[in-house]
C-alpha cells in the first residue's frame, strides 16, 4: 500500500517533468524538468528493488548527461532561433499517430496478465558486480559487453573531441555527417 503511494507520487512527478519537457519554451527549462523527471525515475527504480540502477541513474543521467546538456544549451544560447515555435504542421500528424501507438501498446499491456514475482533478486551492487565480473558464474557474455561499452565510450569521447575541434570541421564533412 505504502509502495503504491510512493509510486503514484513519483510517477506523477516523472510524468509532470516529462510533460514540462514537451511543452517547455526554452531548452533550459526543458532540461531542468527532465532532471526532475529522471530523479523521480531513480526513486522508482529503488522502489522496485533495483537500487544500483537508481544510483547510476542519478549519477550518470541526472548528473553527467544532463549537466553536459545544460552546459551546451547555455553555450549556444545566443542562437538566433533558440526560440523556435513549439509545434508545427508535422505535430498535427505526430500527435494522433503516437497516441494511437501508445493506445495499442496500452491495450496490449492491460490485456496481458503478469505480476511481480516474489523470488526476484534484488539489484544490489553485489549482484551487479557478481554478474558483470564473476565470469565463472555468469559466463563471459556480460564481461565482454562491459568491455565493449568501455571502448564505445572511449571512442565516443575521441569522436567528440575531434568534431568539436575547429580546424577539422569543414563544411563538406559536416554535411556528410548529417546525412
Amino acid at each position: 500500500m505504502l509502495a503504491l503511494i510512493y509510486f503514484i507520487i513519483l510517477a506523477v512527478i516523472a510524468v509532470g517533468g516529462a510533460l514540462c519537457v514537451l511543452f517547455a519554451r526554452h531548452p533550459l527549462y526543458g532540461a531542468l524538468s527532465l532532471v526532475v523527471s529522471m530523479l523521480s525515475l531513480a526513486g522508482i527504480y529503488g522502489l522496485l528493488g533495483s537500487p544500483f540502477v537508481g544510483v547510476v541513474q542519478v549519477m550518470v543521467y541526472a548528473g553527467a548527461i544532463m549537466m553536459l546538456l545544460t552546459f551546451v544549451i547555455m553555450v549556444l544560447n545566443g542562437a538566433r532561433d533558440s526560440r523556435t515555435p513549439r509545434f508545427d504542421k508535422v505535430s498535427l500528424f505526430v500527435f494522433p499517430a503516437v497516441i494511437v501507438l501508445g493506445g495499442l501498446l496500452g491495450v496490449a499491456l492491460v490485456s496481458t496478465p503478469f505480476a511481480f514475482d516474489a523470488g526476484t533478486l534484488r539489484g544490489s551492487v553485489a549482484l551487479t558486480s557478481a554478474t558483470l565480473f564473476d565470469t565463472e558464474a555468469s559466463g563471459h557474455g556480460y564481461f565482454i559487453l562491459f568491455e565493449a561499452v568501455g571502448l564505445l565510450l572511449l571512442s565516443a569521447m575521441v569522436a567528440a573531441v575531434l568534431m568539436a575541434k575547429r580546424r577539422l570541421g569543414t563544411t563538406d564533412e559536416t554535411e556528410g555527417g548529417e546525412n
Binding site: 505526430v94 501507438l101 495499442l104 491495450v107 496490449a108 490485456s111
Partner: protein, 647 residues
C-alpha cells in the same frame, strides 16, 4: 601377307598440309615469300608419295580387300563409330586416280600459280583437299566418309575463295559451301536414319552383310521404308556434292577459283564423290527401285539441262563446268539403272578427259593473261599447238569419238540405259540427244577457242605464249589417259573388261540382284549410234560457229536472253528459298525481336514509373520522415498484436 598400312596414304598429304601451312604462315613476314622451288617440290612430293603407296598397297591387295580399324571415334553406348579404312577394288580405283591426277595437277599448279602471293597457302589447301578426298574414299564407314565429305567441301570453299581480296570470289565460295551444306544435311540425316536401326549399319561392310544375308529378308522388308528414306537422304547429299538438280548452282560459280582447282576438285575428283557413294551403297540402293527411279530421272534431267545450258556460255570455264554437270548426270543415270561399275568407269574416264580439258583451258587462260571469254579468243591452234592438241584429244574423248576413253564409257552407259527396263528406250533416246548436244557445245568451245582468227586486241596478241613444261607435262599425260583409259573396259573388244572384273567383288552382287530385262541388242548398234551422235554434233557445231561472225562482247561474259533464263532458272529457285529465309529473318528481327524488346521496355518502364512514384513520396525533412515511419511502426505493432492474439 606383308603390306603397307592403309593410314599411310592419307598421312602423306596430311603431313604436306601441316608443313606447307607452317611455311605459309612463317613466310608471311618476309617480302618475297618462301622459295617457290622448295614449296613446289614439297607440294608435289606428298601427293606423289600417297600415289606410290596406293599403287604398292593396291598391287598386293587380296580380292576381298583390306580393312583396318585404327581406333574408336565415338562410343556412347547406343551409338558407336570407329576410325577404320577399307581398301577394296572400288576404293583402289578411286584412290589411284585421285592421287594420280592429284599429283599431276599439283605439278601443273606449280607452273600455273607461279608468282602468286599465296603460293604456299595454295598447296597447303591442295594437300588438305587430297587428304580429305583420300579419307572420303578410303573410309570403311559412312561417318568417316562424312569427315572427308565435309573436308573436301571445306577445301573447295577455301580454294574457290582463294583470291579472297575479291568479295565476289568469297561469295561464290560461300555459295558453294552453303549449298553443299544443304546436301550434307541429307547425308547426316541419312546416317541418323540408318543409326536409328543400328549404328553398326554405318559401316559399309556391316551394311552390305546385313542386307545381303538371306536370313534377314523379312526384317529388311519391314525396314524398307526406313531404308528408302535413308537412301533418298543420301541421294540428296549426293546431289549437293555432285551438283545435280536441284543443288547444282554452286558449281558454275565455283569456277571463280584458280583453274587447277576447277580441274582437280570441280571436275575430276570431289564432284564424283556422289557417284562413289551410290556405288558404295549399291547394296542398299538395289533394294529401293523407287529411289533408283528418282536417281535416274534426276540424272537425266541434269544431263540434258546442263548440256543445253552449256550451249549458252561464253566463259570457257563455265562451258566446262556445265559440261561437268552434264557428265555427272550421265553417271547418275548409270547408277540409277544399277550399272554402278559403268558409272564408276565413266567417273574414271571423265577424270582424265575433263581434267585435261580444264588444264588446257587453264593453259589458254594463262596464255591470254587471264582472259576467259571465248568470244575474245580464236586461232589459238597455231599459237599454242601443244595445248590445242591436248584439248582436241580430250574433246574427242568427251563427245564419245570411237576409240577415245569417253566413247567406251558413254557407250556402256547408253547400252545399260536401253536394257534397263520398260523406260529404257526413252532414257536411251534422251541420253543420245544429250550426247549430240554435248558434241555441239564442246565443238563450239573448240571452234571459238582454237579456230578462226584471234579476236582479242592487237596488244594482247603479242603476249600469247605456250605454257611452261611443268604445265604441259601433266596435260600430255592426261590427254594420253583420255585416249587410252577406255581400253580398260572396251565393250566391243572381247576380254578387255579389266575394269568390270575389278569392281565385281564390290558391286557385282548388288547389280545382279537388281534384275535386268533380258533384251538383247547387239553392242555394235549402240556403238554406231553413239558415233553418229558425236559426228552429227561436231558437224552441227562446225556449221554453226566456224564461219559465223562472233559479236564482240559487251560487258560481262554471262549469257543473255533465253540463255540466261535457262541457265539461271535454278539460281532463281534457290533465290526464292533464300528470300523466304530472308523474310523469316526479317520477321525475326523486326517483329519478334521488336516485340520482345517492347515487352522488356514495357516492364522496365513500369518499374521506372513505380520508382519515380516512390521517390516522389520521399520527403526532404528528417522529422517528417521519422513521423511517417511511425505509421510503419504502428502497422508492425498491429501485426504483432493481431498474430499474438491480443487484439
Amino acid at each position: 601377307m606383308t603390306n603397307l598400312p592403309l593410314w599411310l596414304i592419307p598421312l602423306f598429304p596430311l603431313i604436306g598440309t601441316v608443313v606447307l601451312a607452317a611455311i605459309s604462315l612463317a613466310s608471311t613476314g618476309s617480302k618475297k615469300g618462301a622459295s617457290e622451288g622448295i614449296v613446289g617440290g614439297l607440294a608435289v612430293l606428298f601427293p606423289l608419295l600417297a600415289f606410290v603407296s596406293t599403287v604398292v598397297i593396291g598391287w598386293n591387295m587380296p580380292t576381298q580387300g583390306v580393312q583396318e580399324t585404327l581406333g574408336t571415334w565415338i562410343d556412347i553406348g547406343s551409338f558407336k563409330a570407329s576410325f577404320g579404312f577399307l581398301f577394296d577394288s572400288l576404293s583402289r580405283i578411286m584412290l589411284l586416280f585421285v592421287t594420280g591426277i592429284g599429283t599431276l595437277i599439283t605439278l601443273y599448279s606449280t607452273g600455273y600459280m607461279h608468282g602468286d602471293r599465296g603460293f604456299a597457302r595454295f598447296f597447303a589447301y591442295i594437300n588438305l583437299f587430297l587428304f580429305s578426298m583420300i579419307v572420303l574414299v578410303l573410309s570403311d564407314s559412312l561417318l568417316l566418309t562424312f569427315l572427308g565429305w565435309e573436308g573436301v567441301g571445306l577445301c573447295s570453299y577455301l580454294l574457290i575463295g582463294f583470291w579472297n581480296a575479291d568479295v565476289s570470289n568469297c561469295k561464290a565460295a560461300n555459295k558453294a559451301f552453303i549449298v553443299n551444306r544443304v546436301g550434307d544435311l541429307g547425308f547426316i540425316l541419312g546416317m541418323i536414319t540408318l543409326a536409328m536401326v543400328s549404328s553398326d549399319l554405318l559401316s559399309y561392310r556391316e551394311l552390305s552383310a546385313f542386307l545381303r544375308d538371306a536370313a534377314n529378308v523379312e526384317l529388311v522388308n519391314i525396314l524398307l521404308p526406313i531404308f528408302a528414306m535413308a537412301g533418298l537422304l543420301f541421294f540428296i547429299g549426293c546431289t549437293g556434292k555432285s551438283a545435280q538438280i536441284p543443288l547444282l548452282t554452286w558449281l558454275p560459280d565455283a569456277m571463280a577459283g584458280p583453274t587447277p582447282v576447277s580441274a582437280l576438285i570441280h571436275a575430276a575428283t570431289m564432284v564424283t564423290s556422289g557417284v562413289y557413294l551410290l556405288a558404295r551403297l549399291s547394296d542398299l540402293y538395289v533394294l529401293l527401285p523407287g529411289v533408283m527411279t528418282v536417281v535416274v530421272l534426276i540424272g537425266l534431267l541434269t544431263a540434258f539441262w546442263a548440256a543445253v545450258a552449256g550451249l549458252f556460255q561464253n566463259d570457257i570455264k563455265k562451258v566446262l563446268a556445265y559440261s561437268t554437270i552434264s557428265q555427272l548426270g550421265y553417271m547418275f543415270m548409270a547408277a540409277g539403272v544399277a550399272a554402278f561399275d559403268v558409272s564408276i568407269f565413266h567417273v574414271f574416264t571423265h577424270a582424265f578427259f575433263k581434267a585435261a580439258l580444264f588444264l588446257g583451258a587453264g593453259a589458254v587462260i594463262h596464255a591470254l593473261a587471264g582472259e576467259q571469254d571465248m568470244r575474245k579468243m580464236g586461232g589459238m591452234l597455231k599459237k599454242t599447238p601443244v595445248t590445242a592438241c591436248v584439248m582436241i584429244f580430250a574433246f574427242l574423248a568427251i563427245i564419245g569419238f570411237p576409240g577415245f576413253a569417253g566413247f567406251w564409257s558413254k557407250d556402256l552407259i547408253l547400252e545399260r540405259l536401253y536394257v534397263s527396263g520398260p523406260m529404257g528406250p526413252f532414257l536411251y533416246m534422251m541420253a543420245l540427244l544429250t550426247a549430240v548436244i554435248t558434241a555441239i557445245y564442246m565443238g563450239r568451245l573448240m571452234v571459238l577457242t582454237f579456230f578462226g582468227k584471234y579476236r582479242g586486241g592487237e596488244e594482247s596478241e603479242k603476249h600469247i605464249h605456250e605454257a611452261p613444261a611443268s604445265m604441259l607435262i601433266p596435260m600430255v599425260i592426261l590427254s594420253l589417259g583420255s585416249i587410252f583409259a577406255g581400253f580398260l573396259w572396251a565393250g566391243l573388244i572381247p576380254g578387255a573388261n579389266l575394269f568390270e572384273q575389278t569392281l565385281a567383288p564390290v558391286v557385282g552382287q548388288a547389280q545382279a540382284a537388281f534384275g535386268h530385262a533380258s533384251v538383247h541388242v547387239s553392242p555394235w548398234l549402240f556403238a554406231v549410234l553413239g558415233t553418229i551422235a558425236a559426228v552429227v554434233g561436231m558437224a552441227v557445231a562446225w556449221k554453226l560457229f566456224a564461219n559465223r561472225r562472233i559479236p564482240l562482247p559487251k560487258g560481262s561474259s554471262a549469257p543473255e536472253g533465253f540463255g540466261a533464263t535457262w541457265t539461271f532458272c535454278f539460281d532463281k529457285i534457290h533465290g526464292i528459298v533464300i528470300s523466304a529465309f530472308r523474310v523469316l529473318a526479317w520477321v525475326a528481327e523486326n517483329v519478334v525481336n521488336r516485340f520482345v524488346m517492347m515487352l522488356q521496355w514495357l516492364v522496365g518502364g513500369l518499374g521506372e514509373l513505380l520508382g519515380d512514384f516512390a521517390s516522389g513520396l520521399q520527403v526532404a525533412k528528417v522529422r517528417l520522415q521519422m513521423a511517417l515511419s511511425l505509421v510503419g511502426v504502428i502497422a508492425l505493432v498491429l501485426i504483432v498484436l493481431v498474430y499474438g492474439g491480443l487484439l
